[in-house]
Symmetry: C2
Subunit: 537 residues, 2 copies
């Protein structure tokens, strides 16, 4: 015991000496041959036999938009009605509607001529009741930060923006339960809560503009899922306006409520196709005691197997204080360096791990981190690393992970895939894709949330390249389906991925989704062309 | 800092000296007058005006069974079919069927003459396809430990037991994801996982006989919900056989999957009325490092306000290692002492708090606990307490909380209520009920999960007493509804509470539940007379 204690003290002293931005380098490096990998190896041509069948059906039209459905067109009479119920908030100036017609990635563009900005649930209800009776299609829109074309109109759907529904309704500082309107921006909620010693259970790169209603409608994952779980667990209640204008009040503020079916769950992740979320109640965790109790590590690994072993070690030793375990590959690091001039703070490695911890006792947390580091170094899972404890340095290191998306936009036209796989398989897809594409791609990079088994696979080319796309798809979907993975871990299906649903869901389940849609929105006016495949309509 | 450190060391030394079953007594006790309560006071006659409307509809027949619905009766031909597909597992011997006809509390008794014991999903599918075509009603049954009459037949429904579906299918020791058949007993799963350094994310008093399929079907809460959240977050996938025999395969083993609507959520908490759960995939947390890292406190408080202040302090100071915060009142302690001869290990107090922590570092955990205790004592929130670190002593103290139900059964006929309320209101209901009933009740006791806002209110009388029941109901439901509480926090509605659903859900939501039931089970053969109110049928 004394020996371990002394070593810990020494290491902690060393880490403190090197902080806030120290580099720990190990003398010994393992060669891959030193490893007895417990993980399945699988190349693109050698899929492990699956006991579950592949549910792939013929695709009528993959990512592109289908024909416009026979909804009514907006008339002057309609506009007069909207102006009456939303005076000054019925926007028809094309310049003002423009930004709501285009998605964040600028890959989907609608041609809506009307943007409605209600402030209350009652106004949303009036709008939908009217549109339902008139058979007018509606595109509910939050912060418009989605990546699959789910948040913008495809044709001339009326855009119903929740941006002006941005009031916090209640906050209970004993239970940590917040209720607010759907249009509250995530970052504003975070700031509000932090003043009250709480935090939001989710955090996203898009927090400055995404809205909580949109987060819930898309079941956003993000950076804290590993620690606080999904919105299916943390959202306690929803208020939803149904397609015909009826208000469904499930805005409970209770941690436990087993009175009948949990209807709110249907709307979490349904991308605005079943109803418009107007208010949310959510369970918020206590804020970690002080900013000092955030500790941050960037580590390098020689192989993905070592990275996974580090993950297992980390979960065991950091346990309850582990709040993020992310990875990026050397290609990501190259792009960060090339396009954003972000230097690699440690020596070059094939894989980089980003670990964040947050707990209630800074001394305990740093000691746990020391012990973990000592063990990780001793077992030679990691070959290099740096620790940060100061907030500015933590932010600088986090940006290595958060700015990969931005670096990719500078690299060329980007084909983005958001894949969920058994954690031991996630990097094999990148390796196989790289081999499969060869010189046809400019860059093939992988990064993501190891703790959630979530890979962000990105492929760039100098310009849009249909031949490259044909080489990527359906290869990427078939590969994923062969491992019972999800072809959309957290981005949703929206317009772009709707027809690929059968790669991850059996036709029985998709048919049932169609029944639910027909039950809640018989005319199909809510966010048409999204989520469900064309062959259901 | 040095001063705090020295005090901590002293306190820790004191705790260690007194362990494993030490008593910390504070000299100073607060009188209630010393408190400036931040909480709303509310007696039965003085409900705070509610902004949400009460959704109470006329009740056709409250807790009792409605008329038998016109299902077919089981014929010899039916039995011959069942015997063919389930040879040796089609039970018709009345003595053997008997125990499956009666619920755990022995308050509901059906008259089924057939108990089917399938082993595979395919067999469940065959049974339901047949029953659906024949219009035979089916009562799915797990461990039959439910408390609201949801797990037994009401009339002659065929009992479909999942007890023989008890295989563990897969366990991934990197991700902690377990898949198993629905009939696995919770305790067996716990033992299996503990050998592999994991634990189940839920724990119940009934763990020795309840089954994971039943846990999911009833959205069981239990003792670990505070730490690991509800099954809506931890269940990753389900395999369900629908009423007509179709198998719905949503048995994903992914933490993230946003491909379409999350159908499995519908079945979590639907009490077997929408489908029969045949397999479950669930995310399991890592086991706390060693048994030593479980620490346990029993504390005494003079008022419920002090108890809540202790809760807030505890959440702030124990943070991520807090795994349970439970309470019982002095009436519970009296019954434990009277009927089970369990002595109160600390001095008499109006309220007792049970705190469990579990973390990854025993030294850190005990230091956190010391700091918390020191603060709680200094602020005079708690007036007495005892600490346990040895497993046997922890179990002995836990039984103070876990055996309240058993003590109640010895006290007389028990009227049980499982209420969810804003946490600051939970004990007011007990006080108001006590005052409201006066001498009519033998005992009125309150205990439950403070962290979840979940009160178990129990009222005893020497024998079944319709006049007493009439005094309790609808008083208890109206009181709960006036605080936007839930009339069933974790027990579900089953047969007994189905008609009270309107106290916690608006009629709009209940109507939608009816639509979902009609969509998935148009003939209504699955667990009839349960969950949904009679006026929907």
């Amino acid at each position: 015991m004394a020996g371990i204690f002394q070593r810990t003290v020494r290491l902690r002293a060393a880490v403190r000496h090197l902080c806030p931005h120290s580099t720990l380098t190990c003398a010994a490096r393992l060669s891959p041959a030193d490893f007895h990998s417990p993980f399945l190896a699988c190349s693109s041509g050698q899929f492990v036999a699956s006991t579950r069948k592949l549910h792939v059906e013929p695709k009528s039209s993959p990512a592109g938009a289908p024909e416009r459905l026979p909804f009514s067109k907006v008339t002057d009479e309609d506009l007069a009605y909207f102006r009456k119920i939303l005076p000054g908030r019925t926007i028809t100036d094309p310049d003002l509607v423009e930004s709501s017609n285009v998605d964040w990635l600028k890959t989907v563009k609608g041609s809506s001529e009307v943007l409605l900005r209600p402030q209350t649930t009652e106004e949303v209800s009036q709008i939908l009741r009217y549109c339902y009776n008139r058979n007018l299609a509606v595109n509910p829109q939050g912060g418009n930060t989605g990546l699959v074309g789910g948040s913008v109109p495809v044709y001339d759907e009326i855009i119903l923006s929740t941006s002006l529904m941005n009031n916090i309704l209640t906050f209970d500082n004993i239970s940590g339960i917040l209720t607010c309107q759907a249009g509250c921006v995530l970052e504003n909620l975070s700031l509000y809560l932090e003043e009250r010693d709480y935090i939001m259970p989710l955090d996203l790169g898009a927090k400055g503009s995404c809205q909580i209603g949109g987060n819930v409608a898309t079941n956003a994952g993000g950076l804290r899922l590993l620690r606080y779980g999904s919105l299916h667990g943390t959202v306690l209640g929803l208020e939803v306006v149904l397609a015909d204008g009826r208000v469904l009040d499930c805005l409970a503020t209770l941690r436990k409520d087993n009175t009948g079916y949990d209807l709110k769950q249907l709307f979490i992740g349904s991308e605005g196709t079943l109803g418009v979320i107007t208010a949310v109640s959510i369970l918020c965790p206590r804020k970690p005691k002080s900013t000092n109790s955030y500790l941050f590590l960037l580590l390098g690994c020689e192989t993905f197997e070592e990275l996974l072993k580090t993950f297992q070690l980390c979960r065991g030793m950091l346990g309850e204080i582990l709040s993020a375990f992310e990875f990026l590959d050397s290609e990501c690091m190259r792009l960060l360096n090339t396009h954003l001039k972000l230097p690699n703070p440690i020596s070059d490695c094939p894989f980089y791990i980003v670990i964040e911890t947050s707990g209630s006792d800074p001394d305990h947390d740093s000691q746990k981190l020391d012990n973990f580091l000592e063990e990780a170094i001793a077992s030679t899972f990691v070959t290099d690393g740096t620790v940060a404890t100061e907030e500015s340095k933590i932010k600088a290191l986090w940006s290595m992970r958060e700015r990969v998306t931005e670096a990719l936009t500078h690299d060329g036209f980007t084909y983005k895939y958001d894949i969920s796989l058994p954690v031991e398989r996630i990097y094999q897809l990148v390796t196989d894709m790289r081999q499969h594409l060869g010189d046809r791609a400019k860059s093939v990079v992988g990064y993501g949330h190891v703790g959630d088994g979530n890979l962000h696979l990105n492929i760039t080319s100098p310009a849009k390249d249909p031949a490259l796309l044909a080489a990527i798809e359906p290869f990427v979907y078939e590969w994923t389906a062969s491992c019972q993975g999800s072809i959309s871990a957290e981005h949703g299906l929206g317009l772009k991925k709707r027809n690929y649903i059968y790669y991850s869901k059996p036709s029985q389940a998709v048919a049932l989704m169609g029944n639910i849609k027909a039950m809640l929105d018989p005319k199909g006016i809510l966010n048409p062309y999204k989520t469900l495949p064309d062959n259901l309509k």
